[in-house]
């Protein structure tokens, strides 16, 4: 047992005395000697526990059980103290000498059967086992087919449509219109409405930041579409908006980046032009 400071032991003894109604006699060490004298030969459970390798609590329980069965007094304990906090180390010897027949001796907890819990797994499982299939061959076969389909599509497209190559780069002759690559044409379209700093810097920067923080802003744990109407609506507006701006910038902007109809004035979008021709 760990060494407790004396003032704490004293305070504990006082509290115990107040609870049990028996006046506290003295610190544990002082009480041990008269206890032995009153109860006959004492038992040192700590020593027995270390000698036989049996937990002290079991020895203690067996001791009380034997005493109750035989109707004799519980042997007085010696040593550093008695195991559980309820067992009165400093209690007067009279308590230990009380015959067991009148009730459970001190230090013994009685238990009642409240319910029977069915035997189950030791480790609780939180989710149902999922329906799973082997990656090989089921998933790898699908991926391989998708890969081949994409390769075939690109090879065929490349066999029939050449990538555009215009005249040599000329710093003195700007083509009209000059268009960015198609994935930036949505931004170029915004340039027609906003200041370049807003359309070219602020909107794309904040757009990307807004996308990145989506998981930290959307606290809704559900993934069911019916629970996510707002999130889906916002994203769809973003998606359709980006698509409309890109298509508008690609097809409906002609010389001077002015409005045009592709079916009237032709297409001003070089990469697609080579595919259509």
């Amino acid at each position: 047992m760990a060494e407790l400071p004396e003032h704490l032991q004293k305070r504990a003894a006082e509290a115990r005395a107040k609870a049990t109604g028996v006046p506290a006699a003295a610190p544990a060490s002082a009480a041990a000697a008269p206890a032995v004298a009153a109860g006959g030969p004492g038992r040192d459970l700590d020593a027995e526990s270390s000698r036989y390798g049996v937990p002290k609590s079991l020895l203690e329980r067996a001791m009380y059980a034997r005493a109750r069965k035989d109707g004799v007094a519980v042997p007085v304990l010696v040593g550093a103290g008695v195991a559980s906090g309820q067992a009165p180390a400093a209690a007067p010897a009279a308590a230990a000498a009380t015959p067991a027949a009148s009730g459970p001796p001190p230090g013994v907890r009685t238990q009642r059967l409240l319910t029977v819990v069915k035997a189950g797994a030791i480790q609780g499982t939180t989710k149902e086992p999922a329906d799973k299939v082997n990656v090989w061959p089921h998933l790898l076969a699908i991926e391989f087919v998708a890969l081949l389909a994409m390769l075939a599509f690109l090879t065929l497209l490349s066999a029939f449509v050449d990538a555009p190559l215009l005249e040599f780069a000329n710093f003195n002759e700007q083509p009209n219109p000059s268009k960015a690559p198609w994935y930036f044409l949505g931004l170029q379209e915004l340039l027609a409405y906003f200041d370049p700093m807003v359309a070219g810097i602020l909107i794309p920067t904040f757009g990307m930041i807004a996308l990145a923080v989506v998981p930290y802003v959307d606290r809704n744990p559900s993934t069911r579409p019916t629970d996510r109407k707002l999130a889906i609506t916002i994203f769809t507006v973003f998606f359709v908006g980006a698509a409309v701006l890109t298509i508008f910038g690609s097809f409906f902007r002609g010389p001077g980046f002015n409005f045009t109809f592709p079916w009237r004035d032709g297409i001003f979008f070089d990469d697609l032009l080579t595919i259509l021709e």
Partner: protein, 258 residues
């Protein structure tokens, strides 16, 4: 092994050679246990698991996935196709590097020579360009698919952020490649794009200067963007892809079902 004559037939000799080869130390050292290429690699549940587990593939896929995950309609293979396009663009890009010099005016003539002097040069260049366009599309659509499935929710929040970084890197890779043909289309598309960088608040001038390596686009810009395109950005995107794929597995595999 012997037929009725007591001799070994040709068929038996050939199949015996095959068995001998597949049992050899070299063969078994190449194909790890469970591989269908091995003599003991027959189809069994144990070997199906080993095909993935005993393979570098284990970095990408678990042994088993949820059944809904293999449905084509769930993922449309968009993430996998983006990765495949990256590999295809790397292969075709390395091919193009053999014939391309990032200087003016050689860059333009090298691109022209691909069509006339190099076997399959035009085909490979076409695949590189169209593949790049398709990759921008598949990456964007992959992001949309993930959003509509709510697959960015815990514990996958950070992998979504990595995905956004990958989207930006994909756009940058495509944009830096756009200048390299050094024709009118390349020059002026990049001029329009980089002019926007100059409008960045406070340090816009410096951004523009660092981006094009001068006050206006020159042959120096070509070299700079070439290095970004073939080395710097692929290096960065590969690191983020590794993290992305690793997190897909660590965060519990594919999301859903809905």
């Amino acid at each position: 092994m012997a037929d009725g004559n007591g001799r070994t037939s040709l068929k038996e000799a050939v199949s015996g050679l095959g068995d001998h080869l597949r049992g050899s130390q070299v063969w078994t050292s190449i194909f790890r246990p469970g591989s269908p290429m091995r003599a003991d690699g027959g189809d069994s549940p144990r070997n199906r698991a080993y095909v993935v587990m005993n393979n570098v593939l284990y970095h990408l896929h678990p042994v088993k996935v949820k059944r809904h995950g293999v449905k084509l309609s769930y993922t449309l293979c968009l993430g996998g196709l983006s990765f495949f396009l990256f590999i295809l663009l790397t292969i075709t890009g390395i091919f193009l590097m053999f014939y391309y010099r990032p200087t003016s005016p050689q860059a333009y003539f090298d691109i022209q020579a691909l069509a006339t002097d190099v076997a399959f040069g035009q085909l490979v260049r076409n695949m590189h360009r169209w593949g790049a366009h398709v990759m921008v599309l598949t990456v964007f659509l992959h992001m949309s698919r993930v959003f509509y499935h709510g697959a960015y929710k815990p514990p996958r929040e950070f992998n979504w952020v990595v995905g956004i970084i990958l989207l930006v890197l994909t756009l940058l890779l495509s944009f830096t490649g756009y200048l390299l043909p050094w024709d009118q289309l390349a020059l002026w598309a990049v001029t329009v794009g980089t002019n926007m960088g100059g409008y960045a608040p406070v340090f816009g001038g410096q951004v523009s200067f660092a981006l094009i390596g001068g006050v206006q686009i020159t042959a120096d810009t070509l070299l700079r963007w070439y290095t970004l395109h073939v080395l710097f950005l692929p290096f960065i995107i590969t690191i983020f892809m590794a993290v992305h794929f690793w997190r897909v597995r660590k965060d519990g595999g594919i999301s859903g079902p809905l």
